[in-house]
Symmetry: C2
């Protein structure tokens, strides 16, 4: 097996031509294939290869964090975890991830479906584009992948096999532990924020004992709660869509963790997009209709996830936890239904807490989001960010106080108008 | 490597003589070594080998459950998990486990210290023997092994390595999942109870929706909460002691699970011993002083564990969760201390819930305990068992209602007098 080497774009076509599944997919003569490097993420090399018939994406892990440089090494094996997660997700949520054509563990390289004319959702949110199928599709993805990789759906043996498979994905989990749950709340070299406008806010968060405790409670949960195989990085940059189709990409942070972390990632990033609208509208109020659309997505994502997760649970015949055979009488079934409601309520609070943590790290930590970065005027950007921070703190410290999604949305609207 | 074969007692001396560490430990001439099979547990072959200098125990896994027979296969690899747990526990709680002299993974065989004149604690509890050092020693074992294998003490990388190492211990966890959390609450072939006296109680538990929900909540927690490397079977048959010394043996059920499961196992088995006294005393009240001693142990085990766990936490400089560096101000430290109290309160409730589950399975499930089985008169035994079941149900359904150990002990005393 040849040693790992970063893909050389000029030789890529020749290498791909030797993989029958990929050659057939691209079609036509190798010399006609067009290749371009498009990686704009933080961690990897990404090439798009287009042939006569269709295109593929070649994603290769680099042995360091691309955003930071070679000083921050990162294991190539994350590609194996991404591949393993893609395979598992496709089983549970067919059609909602890119098809995988080839995986080379030694080269840390995945060749997969080129999604076109899909765009990264975050870019659509910045432009104010509505995606009518988004909420239902992401709710299905969340409910199907998270329910079906849990002990509510399957056996303990299957679950422990997943735990074992993904446990070595230490380095990527560590990024989350540090950059999401810890660094934003302290002085850390890699933090940045819109200075000087948010300086006071940043310092206030560093001194906010209640907020820091809430962040550490979530970190502890992230490190010890093995509920389901989670995507681990499900922000709106990991969602590609058109008006008709939606796919979830990039699950290299996958491991067996808390369900609310994925649901919270989606909802937290929708709230970031909501607060960013103020920075993108030509005159105040121009994006009001779009704001309403975004907040409707928050409600629809939660209720879609909630309803579908429960539907799957009620229909699951063979989960090792809460076995159906134990709850046969009317009274039993009523008690089980009440327990399911308690379980979903706990997931709701987890979702809010993790959503808040994901929002804060994008404003006060290392990795920011284009929704806000694209607002050129720093004062204007900081205004959006300060509002997002306010909601995020409420979500983290006060998750228990929110009666449901309508309540959260109302809080976001109030803060947005301030 | 020779294929696995059950130890042939007549050839054991020759085999041990070839292991220098064991030969030296036993001392003298091989022909003088005395060997006897003493396995009275449910799963394994156990030999005691005594030489001129001292003795060793040879424990070998059998490929099936000894209690049931060859129809119930069980992986030999549990010996590897037991060995791995013994090594890790010895690091964190030195002197509180048997020393290991030799491990043969292929033969699923551990050669370890022969503890003499130690007795199995359960037998001492039946005879009414007080062990003045027990509570402090088991509290230290629990606090040290459970704290130091958690992310409160160490890094996420260390924790994930432990999770990965023990995740394949599927079969033994499955025994717990089925026999503790599920079967006692339904009709299952292997259940047994003191019939006909407990028939009504058994049927009532099968119809008790609230209790079954509580049992499944604990099962879900057992399957998904990766807090620390737990012993997994820490009843009073896994504790050997004298008046001066205490050791914890037999951690073959070890895996990364909920902390309260181990603490609850100890406390639940103390309560079983408490309720069994009525079956062992020659006349009513003869064991009153011993009852008081047992209940004092419950209080001392919890408070000893609680205080030592917190002491270790306050002194831990490098745990990845709740990093000290984040909590530097007076206000921070007060908030962290409050959070620690919340964490310990959650462990207390977990402890009660798991204690209740462990008690019920010993009365209505497959594997019973000598404390109760040794009561020859079934009506008298059932009287003890019914009281134990009453407390156990309260612990499982009403864990939140108990303000502290004194409250639980008072409930036990009230039920005991009834």
């Amino acid at each position: 097996m040849p040693a790992y080497a970063p893909v050389d774009g000029s030789r890529l076509a020749g290498a791909l031509a030797e993989i029958p599944a990929v050659r057939d997919r691209l079609g036509g003569d190798v010399v006609g294939w067009r290749i371009r490097e498009v990686g704009d993420g933080n961690l990897n090399l990404v090439f798009i290869v287009e042939g006569r018939a269709s295109g593929v994406v070649v994603k290769q892990a680099l042995p360091y964090v691309r955003l930071v440089g070679e000083s921050w090494p990162l294991p190539l094996e994350r590609s194996w975890f991404e591949y393993s997660a893609l395979v598992e997700q496709a089983r549970h949520a067919p059609g909602l991830t890119p098809a995988v054509f080839h995986f080379d563990r030694g080269q840390a390289m995945i060749v997969m479906e080129y999604l076109s004319p899909h765009v990264i959702m975050r870019k659509g949110l910045i432009r104010g584009v509505e995606y009518p199928r988004f909420a239902a599709a992401i709710a299905e993805f969340l409910a199907a992948t998270l329910f079906k990789t849990s002990v509510l759906a399957g056996t303990a043996a299957e679950h422990k096999a997943r735990v074992e498979l993904f446990a070595p994905n230490v380095a990527l989990c560590k990024i989350t532990e540090d950059l999401i749950f810890t660094d934003p709340y302290r002085e850390a070299l890699l933090n940045r924020w819109t200075s000087p406008y948010l300086d006071a806010q940043k310092r206030a968060f560093e001194r906010d004992s209640a907020l820091k405790i809430a962040a550490q409670q979530r970190k502890y949960q992230f490190m010890t709660s093995a509920q389901a195989l989670i995507h681990g990085d499900l922000h709106t940059g990991s969602i590609m869509l058109t008006r008709e189709d939606m796919r979830v990409i990039d699950p290299e942070f996958a491991f067996v963790g808390p369900i609310g972390f994925d649901v919270g990632a989606v909802i937290g990033n929708l709230f970031l997009a909501f607060f960013a609208q103020e920075g993108h509208e030509p005159e105040p109020g121009a994006r009001d209709a779009y704001r309403i659309w975004i907040l409707a997505q928050v409600a629809d994502v939660w209720s879609g996830f909630h309803d579908r997760f429960l539907e799957l649970w009620r229909a699951a015949p063979q989960g090792d936890a809460y076995p159906v055979s134990l709850f046969a009488s009317d009274e039993d079934r009523a008690a089980l239904e009440k327990e399911r409601a308690r379980f979903m309520r706990a997931l709701f609070e987890d979702t809010l807490g993790f959503a808040g943590a994901k929002m804060i790290r994008r404003i006060l930590g290392l990795a920011h989001v284009e929704d806000l970065e694209a607002i050129a005027d720093p004062e204007r950007r900081a205004r959006c960010e300060a509002k997002a921070l306010r909601l995020a703190r409420e979500l983290m410290v006060g998750a228990r106080g929110f009666s449901g999604p309508a309540d959260v949305i109302s809080a976001a609207r109030t803060i947005g108008r301030a």
